[in-house]
């Protein structure tokens, strides 16, 4: 199964109402999983990595939780207003005679494309990975920045 979301639904233009819906949906999924053992779980809910996007005046900030993934194992690229992240989470096989009691951590390939609300300055994108947390800073393109207009009084 390929979990690749080409365009993000909900679209960015309606920020808060759909953001809340998305959160509600996730909570409903959790309830479903608890009650019915995940049988009602749609595959579309499975997007990896989950990302939080925030913005300030000049930049977009994208954060994702990627525990155990080294920065060199990540493939991040940006074009215009899309960000794509791909990689593989490897969990090395333990040497010798081991007996597993629990196996909850997942390994495998992932890829995701994220649409940003506006153009970004691709030359100045900065990404770092620390403590299993990936954070990408993307400066907004000059044309996309908000311009304050001063009203002159004559």
């Amino acid at each position: 199964m390929i979990f690749r979301r080409v365009s993000n639904w909900p679209a960015f233009y309606w920020r808060t109402p759909f953001g809340d819906l998305e959160r509600l949906k996730r909570q409903m999924d959790l309830i479903n999983e608890g009650l019915l053992g995940g049988t009602l779980r749609e595959p579309s809910a499975g997007v990896f990595p989950l990302m939080n996007v925030t913005e300030d005046k000049d930049n977009y900030y994208v954060r994702a939780e990627l525990p155990g993934i080294k920065s060199e194992e990540l493939d991040i690229s940006v074009t215009g207003d899309t960000l794509s992240i791909a990689g593989e989470r490897k969990i090395s096989e333990e040497k010798g005679d081991v007996k597993y009691h629990r196996r909850e951590r997942e390994a495998g390939k992932f890829s995701r494309i994220l649409n940003l609300p506006s153009q970004i300055n691709t030359a100045k994108v900065d990404a770092k990975c620390a403590d299993g947390l990936l954070s990408i800073v993307m400066p907004k393109a000059e044309t996309a920045k908000q311009k304050q207009i001063v009203v002159k009084s004559s």
Partner: protein
Amino acid sequence: MTETEGKTLQTKEKMTLGAAAEQTKPGIVFTPAVDIFETEKELTLLADMPGVKSDNLTIGLNKNVLTMTGEVEAPEDENETDVIREYETGKYFREFTLSNEIDQTRIDAVLKDGVLRLTLPKVEEVTPRKIAVKTA
């Protein structure tokens, strides 16, 4: 279950902890995903705790109960506004009861890239000893 290379990662939600004991501080508590495996000499525990710095990780051992607590500071700056929020951050908490055969003085913990690796060596006597039978 065997791990094969190149397969697609199965996605999982962060699991929130049911209210076992009420928190004094507000916030969501997550249970980290763990792998636990055993060899003849030791028990190893791997836990995914993204965003936890080693200073904010507490590992406690009270009698036979091993407790792992990881605090996550919100990485967002004050003047940032949300565009899309898909996951929440909060504390990680998980508890395990250890058997008596663990040598509690030699427990070793390493936190790297958001993954905690706890090595719990077994007490010497419990390690099975092979006894060679000599023929006279």
